[in-house]
């Protein structure tokens, strides 16, 4: 008997199985193929705006994606460096061979974690409680909790033009029975779609006709614990090229041969706006003379190039024609053709914010099966499902990250509160408190949680605490040290094009000037720099953007007040006469845990919230004496 069984070894499954195992729970990962664990069926890129911050958050909580990327990349870039600290984001080109290999090694060597190759066909559910899984050969394995991270494998169908085939990505075996069995249990499923572009042989590409996009010549890492960096000179560049009028003409002439434009009848699935096919781009933006195509090397071990920007479901011969119109690719050889894939996902509003399902106790869902897209989104959900499944077994409070704490929190709240109609991708614009959710401060936001739940060990925690102390002590010191308008001070300020001082000023206040850096201050104080790069960065951000951070803080405080108002789980919305009908329906369906969450449900309007508040107040007063520990009530999920 296991504590937790994780179904699926993708990016969600990896984190979902590592977290509980590291928290001391007996965990089993069931995957169709061990060699496919941590595989990257789309482009081998990890990070970028919002997503890169998710990787940092995962790392702060004690996840693996950051560390594994640091070990397995062939290029890294810090994006948005010309903008503010809130939107800076790290992105890596991972090595498609090394990344899964390193991840597999980590999983296979993880204490408390067993990995087996098999297919799960059904779930054992008794009286709304998960009891385990049933394998293809009808063998039963029991557990206290199950985390389903089936990715795009449920009833998946690969499409190239009019040709369709029941298959998982990269010709892997799909799971045929699972989604039917979920529907039988009462789950509502969605049919979603995504696609991938062709890969070409690297030796057949003429890179001289493209613009190289090299990695940064500065060492970066996703993980707060990484101390060894890969040599910068070993980085491999990506390349930029463009489509042209000829490309577009071929596509328009052959549009009807695209699976999505009529080659296949009855497409029920919805694709992401975030990942349009090239035919979508050309149809929807017909006035654009060209589209960007990024050529991304997939690995140092396999000579293949991922042609980013050319997702399509056109037939193979047309794919050949199209690709040969593109500068640098005139003579290229396609080694794998582009395809579209459609699959079953579950409607994510059927989940609590812990990612536990409302229908079945102890059954959790994470990753693409919840209607998201992207490795980082999957991993972020994976770790939260893993943590919460473990905490529940340990009879501890769940960990629900708020919208001001993590992009992971924003994503899960969006999914379980609003649901999704298309594969969900994280974007910085989905976060209201972007200024808080930065690349640099993920540890300050989340490491404490990681430590509390047992994913961050003493040593790492101590290191983190030192950092926080150093920052606070130094800020305190700078607020007391005065810099006087001496001749040498003013001469130095002149030399760095900052205006002269007339009166004495604290070092902290001088640092608030946009052009003044911490190093300038140290220079003015005739001192040596003793802090680390990260500590200095924190001080600069906290000091320089104090006003903006304060503004965000006051917004957050308002939001948190609403999050503190908890809704008991046995509330019967139909009994609240004055609620609007739509509000009743939506609230009954979503069953929000807090007034804050209720307020974010579309169709629930301010008067409904007022009425709900009054109802709750009466409800609590009637129950006088029965003090409700509000956090705990969120713990005891009562199944239907």
């Amino acid at each position: 008997m296991y504590d937790i069984i994780v179904i699926g070894g993708g990016h969600a499954g990896c984190e979902a199985s590592l977290a509980p195992a590291r928290m001391g729970l007996k965990t089993l990962l069931i995957t169709s193929k061990i060699s496919r664990i941590g595989h990257m069926p789309c482009n081998p890129s990890i990070g970028g705006p919002a997503k890169g911050i998710v990787v940092r958050e995962l790392d702060a909580l004690g996840g693996e994606m950051g560390r594994n990327t640091d070990k397995s990349h062939i290029q890294m870039r810090m994006l948005n460096t010309g903008k503010g600290p809130a939107v800076r984001a790290l992105r890596a080109q991972a090595d498609k061979v090394d990344y899964p290999k390193n991840m597999q090694e980590t999983l296979l060597n993880q204490e408390n974690l067993t990995v087996i190759e098999d297919m799960v066909d059904d779930l054992i559910v008794e009286d709304h409680q998960i009891k385990g899984v049933i394998l293809e050969n009808k063998e039963r394995i029991e557990s206290k909790a199950v985390i389903l991270t089936a990715g795009t494998y449920m009833k998946s169908r690969v499409m190239i033009s009019s040709e369709t085939r029941i298959s998982g990505p990269d010709n892997e075996r799909p799971s045929l029975g699972l989604s039917d069995n979920l529907r039988r249990l009462g789950f509502i499923t969605l049919r979603l779609k995504t696609g991938t572009p062709p890969r070409v042989a690297i030796e057949t590409v003429d890179f001289s006709k493209t613009e190289p996009q090299p990695g940064d010549m500065e060492c970066f890492a996703f993980s707060y614990d990484t101390t060894e960096y890969k040599p910068l000179e070993n980085q491999v560049p990506c390349y930029l090229t463009y489509t042209n009028a000829e490309t577009h003409k071929i596509i328009m002439d052959n549009l009807s041969k695209s699976s999505m434009y009529g080659a296949i009848e009855k497409i029920e699935s919805r694709g992401p706006r975030y990942c349009p096919s090239i035919e979508d781009k050309i149809v929807r933006f017909s006035d654009k003379p060209r589209h960007q195509i990024f050529l991304e090397p997939e690995s140092l071990h396999i000579p293949e190039i991922y042609v980013q920007g050319l997702s399509t479901s056109l037939p193979r011969d047309i794919q050949e024609k199209i690709i040969h119109t593109i500068p640098g690719l005139e003579n290229c050889k396609i080694v794998r053709y582009a395809y579209a894939i459609e699959y079953d996902a579950i409607e994510p509003t059927q989940l609590w914010p812990t990612l536990e399902s409302k229908l079945v106790f102890g059954l959790y869902f994470a990753g693409q099966v919840n209607g998201t897209s992207g490795y980082e989104e999957a991993a972020g959900q994976g770790i939260m499902a893993g943590i919460n499944a473990a905490l529940k077994i340990q009879k501890k409070e769940p960990l629900i990250l708020h919208r001001d704490e993590a992009y992971i929190g924003v994503m899960i709240d969006d999914l379980v509160t609003k649901g999704t109609k298309e594969p969900y991708r994280l974007l910085t614009s989905r976060a209201e408190y972007r200024l808080f959710l930065r690349h640099d401060n993920a540890d300050i936001r989340l490491r404490e949680y990681g430590y509390k739940i047992g994913l961050i060990d003493e040593e790492r925690y101590k290191k983190f605490n030192n950092k926080v102390n150093n920052i606070e002590t130094e800020k305190q010191r700078l607020s007391q040290v005065k810099i006087n308008p001496s001749k040498s001070t003013n001469e130095y300020l002149d030399s760095i094009e900052s205006s002269q001082l007339k009166d004495g000023i604290t070092a902290l206040n001088l640092l608030k000037r946009p052009e003044i850096t911490y190093h300038h201050i140290i220079r003015l104080l005739h001192e040596e720099v003793k802090l680390s790069k990260e500590e200095i960065e924190q001080i600069e951000i906290q000091v320089k953007y104090e006003g903006y951070l304060r503004k965000t803080t006051s917004q957050v405080e308002k939001m948190l007040k609403l999050e503190e108002k908890l809704i008991p789980l046995d509330i019967d919305y139909n009994k609240i006469l004055n609620l609007a009908i739509e509000a009743k329906q939506k609230l009954t369906l979503i069953r929000p845990l807090t007034i804050g969450q209720a307020q974010r449900i579309s169709g629930v309007n301010p008067p409904d919230i007022s009425i709900l508040l009054i109802y709750l107040e009466s409800f609590y007063r009637r129950r006088k004496g029965v003090e409700i520990d509000e956090r705990e009530s969120a713990c005891e999920f009562i199944p239907e």
Partner: protein
């Protein structure tokens, strides 16, 4: 939602002698104290009534003479800090005060919200819960119309357009952030952003300018004609009301037996306070006349102070000049056809009239238009915004944009500048009652060809 500070006019908006504006919430005392000239309200005892003036900090002018009740939590109706402002009745002044409060940190109360808070804070009995909910329901339906009614179709189109302009800017910045390598969006920089924001600000200013006109046209200007007996107040009134240009409606005052009249000059409705008093003062002794003038002056938004060209300034004249100083006023030196004995050098900014011809009315009309910036009024084809909440929101949006400009000047990174621009966009949306929802994402993916 809770604990923020809410405000509402709690007396029926209309012609009562006194209006009460009530605030409830943590910041209510602080908000009012910033707008109050008199004692420091933060330091006064709880449950005290304080005399003073409400000022408009933007124009640094006095809006009204008021009594402010300060009641600290928990012994108040809502069990929160409550402030009540007793001001002179009349739609113009009351709305103006409301608008100032809304632009300085208070939020317009939802229907039934004071009662709701009272209940949530334990001040109202459980048995009343149902009725509170009914109240919210009823008032919501009622206010759904009200909220939309205040907004003229043309204005809402104007604001919609503005909002789209702002959204375009925001979307561009967002694309730059989320897709830093995407080459088809304008690489927004502070240099590009600045003129765009200025453009929007100036458009908002224009709407606000119209708003003033709209308010005046809807609600009229309360005018007091004051002056010593025999300076020509009556003649002024008569000439204003004479011929076709004057339309007089007479409503008998209930308590003070005052007859008030509306007249209309050049399309501007003027409401003359205490017309009876003006007529009577010819016969009664000077002291009473002045006293009566003071009373009229308190209620008025615009004061016409009439002086006699043919006499030296008397103590009473000087007294009236002094007490009307803080008011919007027009000094009229009447009887300019007679010999000048008045000390004009002591006066500033006056107009000269003789009550014998129509030209005098034109001079007064022009002066009023100048003061209220009315220009040529074309009531038919102009779009006006008149609801205090809408005006306050527009001003807040404008302020956010001004903050953005300030940030740009400080060379703050663009994504931080965008925080204020986004605020402005959301505030404009609140005027239209539009939710933020997925509008931004829709804009992103419909205007830009994004994704791998």
């Amino acid at each position: 939602m809770f604990n923020d500070t809410i405000v509402a006019i709690s007396t029926a908006l209309g012609e009562g002698a006194i209006s009460i504006i009530r605030l409830s919430g943590n910041d209510s005392i602080e908000i009012v104290s910033k707008l109050f000239k008199g004692k420091n309200l933060i330091e006064v005892n709880s449950h005290t009534i304080n005399y003073g003036h409400i000022i408009n900090p933007e124009e640094n002018s006095i809006v009204d003479e008021v009594l402010v009740s300060v009641m600290r939590a928990p012994k108040t109706f809502t069990a929160e800090d409550v402030v009540e402002i007793n001001c002179h009745g009349g739609i113009f002044v009351t709305n103006k005060i409301l608008e100032i409060l809304l632009t300085h940190g208070a939020r317009l109360a939802e229907p039934g919200e004071f009662t709701k808070r009272a209940f949530l804070n334990g001040r109202i009995d459980l048995t009343q819960a149902e009725s509170v909910m009914d109240l919210i329901n009823a008032k919501t339906e009622e206010s759904l119309n009200v909220a939309l009614n205040g907004l003229d179709g043309k204005v809402s189109q104007l604001i919609k357009n503005l909002r789209e302009e702002v959204l375009f800017v925001v979307a561009n910045i967002e694309v730059n952030i989320d897709y830093p390598e995407y080459d088809d969006a304008i690489k927004m920089s502070n240099e590009i952003l600045k003129p765009k924001i200025f453009e929007v600000i100036s458009k908002i200013e224009k709407i606000l300018e119209y708003a003033k006109t709209g308010k005046i046209l809807r609600e009229g200007i309360k005018i007091a004609i004051i002056g010593r007996p025999n300076v020509g107040k009556s003649s002024l009134l008569n000439i204003l009301m004479r011929e076709e240009r004057a339309i007089v409606t007479e409503i008998a005052g209930t308590t003070r037996d005052i007859i008030e009249g509306y007249i209309n000059i050049g399309g501007i409705p003027l409401k003359i306070v205490d017309t009876a008093g003006i007529r009577e003062t010819n016969d009664i002794i000077e002291a009473i006349g002045v006293k009566r003038s003071i009373k009229a002056l308190e209620e008025a938004e615009l004061v016409l102070l009439v002086l006699n060209n043919n006499e030296k300034l008397t103590e009473s004249d000087k007294n009236l000049l002094k007490i009307s100083e803080s008011k919007q006023r027009i000094i009229i030196i009447n009887k300019s056809d007679l010999e000048t004995k008045i000390e004009k050098e002591l006066l500033k900014n006056y107009i000269e009239t003789t009550m014998l011809d129509d030209k005098s009315v034109d001079v007064i009309e022009k002066k009023i238009k100048d003061i209220y910036n009315l220009g040529d009024i074309k009531t038919k084809d102009q779009a006006y915004i008149s609801n205090s909440r809408h005006i306050a929101k527009l001003k807040l949006a404008k302020r956010s944009l001004e903050d953005a400009i300030e940030s740009i000047e400080l060379e703050v990174p663009i994504d931080m500048v965008e925080i204020d621009v986004k605020d402005a966009w959301m505030t404009l949306g609140e005027i239209l009652g539009e939710e933020v929802g997925d509008a931004l994402l829709n804009e992103l993916f419909s205007k830009f060809c994004l994704g791998k």
